[in-house]
């Protein structure tokens, strides 16, 4: 075969190459990093998980989210913008007392209009704890199996349905509806071992892309409002004389000393990439006894009296798991 090496051919080749690149990147822009239909169909469950993780952080979107837990239904408006570095969010619960939560990266400002007050929550991560976004899907798959179970339409979007089943009964399962074009999760359900839906969230009238940053502004001018900071100071649990044993696959995210209603507490937070749980250690109240607090959808908690302290475990895990974590807490010699 004769090699075509005329300058004009080279020019045409280069032009075609550029055109393909441009249209590909435009498609990526539109779709938030997705490819052709064939590529979508060929995605493995693991790839889907990565795409969902990525989309939740990197896409701009705005919409109304419905949350259902037992007989309770709540709606919130949400605006999410990624500025190239960090994400910004505004959450407006539409029920109950007026509140607004404005997030910029790791800082959340809680606006309480009736008290003309802003509570600023800032995360203080210890150097040694990695950000969860880096959680490798491979690790997640040690504790869950992921399956593509179908294709359904949600909120007008063509969605892939994923089922995430725990490998042990010490955590919950999930069912996710993911927009095939962008990877944004439009509905999620948390399921117990019998398949009962413990809570579900769904987007209605979601708009992906083209979000005006003005929409991140709170509804109220907070000028003259009282601003209060919740200070978290990173601590080393061992130095504090504590040994905690989270369920397998739960990694430490935070260990801090923080204010709690009426005093200070140590809080350690663990996550397996899907569920998280907190362990609180406080000076024991006189009447404290071992007890389970009321269950709230997927959230279970257990309070344990341990010497002069109370250990309270709260998280999106089954009741037995919360109790086991509380029971495993140990005071160690300094």
């Amino acid at each position: 075969m004769q090699r075509v090496d005329l300058p004009v051919w080279r020019w045409i080749n280069a032009a075609i190459f550029l055109l393909v690149c441009a249209s590909l990147s435009a498609a990526q822009e539109r779709a938030g990093g997705t490819a052709s239909v064939d590529a979508v169909d060929g995605r493995s469950p693991e790839q889907w998980l990565q795409i969902v993780q990525h989309a939740a952080r990197r896409l701009d979107y705005t919409g109304t989210m419905v949350y259902q837990q037992g007989a309770e239904v709540r709606m919130s408006k949400i605006v999410h913008v990624f500025d190239g570095q960090v994400s910004h969010e505004r959450l407006q619960p539409m029920d109950g007392r007026p509140r607004e939560f404005i997030r910029n990266a790791d800082e959340v400002r809680c606006l309480i209009p009736e008290a003309r007050q802003v509570v600023v929550e800032r995360k203080a991560r210890a150097e040694s704890f990695p950000a969860l976004a880096a959680t490798a899907t491979a690790e997640l798959l040690q504790h869950y199996s992921v399956k593509i179970v179908g294709r359904e339409r949600v909120g007008g979007f063509d969605c892939q349905v994923l089922e995430i089943r725990p490998r042990q009964a010490d955590r919950y399962g999930y069912r996710l509806w993911v927009d095939r074009a962008t990877g944004l999760m439009l509905r999620s359900q948390t399921l117990n071992e019998r398949g009962d839906v413990l809570e579900q969230m769904a987007f209605v009238d979601v708009r992906i892309g083209g979000v005006d940053r003005e929409q991140l502004k709170p509804s109220w001018s907070t000028e003259g409002w009282r601003v209060e900071q919740t200070a978290h100071r990173p601590i080393d649990l061992r130095e504090q004389g504590w040994r905690l044993v989270p369920p397998s696959g739960f990694k430490p995210l935070y260990a801090v000393r923080r204010p709690m209603a009426g005093g200070q507490a140590l809080q350690a937070v663990y996550s397996d990439g899907l569920a998280s749980l907190s362990v609180f250690i406080e000076p024991a109240a006189a009447a404290a006894a071992n007890d389970q607090l009321p269950q709230r959808g997927p959230i279970n908690s257990y309070v344990r009296r341990l010497g002069e302290s109370t250990v309270t475990v709260v998280g999106e895990v089954p009741a037995d798991t919360a109790r086991a974590v509380a029971q495993a807490a140990e005071r160690i010699g300094r």
Partner: protein, 201 residues
């Protein structure tokens, strides 16, 4: 203790000094669980007929709740009890729930009670899962306006327990929980009613 003090016929007498104070004191003891069974019965029986004592009882409860949580206290309103009583009147009567066969997956979505009707109505309005939106049971559940004996599905919590103790842990937990697949604010959606933790509260 003299049961006379809560005799409804005497409550119309303008409360002069000691008597009213004594009753208030005993209502307070009742709230604190300091009365024995006999005294409780007598006092509660009196509450039924004595409007003034009833009012005081509600007030004391409101004060107690306000001390524990502003959100719980906000539930107190004059019409609240009346509305709950009316809603209970309209509830279908439950017949032998224990004898029911295990429910199918579709029925598991149905929630008992008035709250569930509201939930189902909202879900229908916004077009959440189609299988629950169009299920005939759901449609049936929307209609009962008069008390009719119905074999109702009884499972799952209907009332959301607003334990103030739990609320503060939820508020602290959501600050540091990090969902990876959902928007970061998801934990706030889950617990939007809980007050943020503030220094010195």
């Amino acid at each position: 203790m003299n049961p006379d003090t809560i005799d409804p016929s005497k409550s119309a007498v303008p409360s002069v000094g000691g008597r009213a104070d004594d009753r208030a004191q005993r209502l307070s003891c009742l709230l604190d669980g300091e009365l024995d069974e006999h005294e409780c019965r007598a006092l509660i029986a009196g509450l039924r007929d004595d409007k003034e004592a009833g009012h005081k009882w509600a007030l004391f409860n409101c004060v107690g709740d306000a001390m524990r949580s502003a959100d719980v206290a906000s539930w107190h309103s004059d019409q609240f009890v009346a509305r709950v009583s009316a809603a209970l009147e309209r509830e279908p009567t439950v017949l032998a729930p224990a004898a029911l066969p295990p429910r199918s997956a579709a029925r598991r979505w149905l929630l008992p009670g008035a709250g569930a009707v509201a939930a189902a109505a909202v879900l229908i309005a916004i077009g959440l899962p189609s299988r629950q939106a169009v299920s005939p049971e759901t449609m049936a559940a929307r209609t009962p306006a008069t008390p009719t004996p119905t074999v109702a599905a009884v499972q799952g919590p209907v009332l959301i327990d607003r334990s103030p103790q739990l609320e503060r842990y939820l508020a602290a937990h959501r600050e540091l929980a990090e969902p990876t697949l959902m928007p970061n604010s998801t934990p706030y959606v889950r617990t939007s009613g809980a007050m943020p933790i503030q220094e010195g509260r």
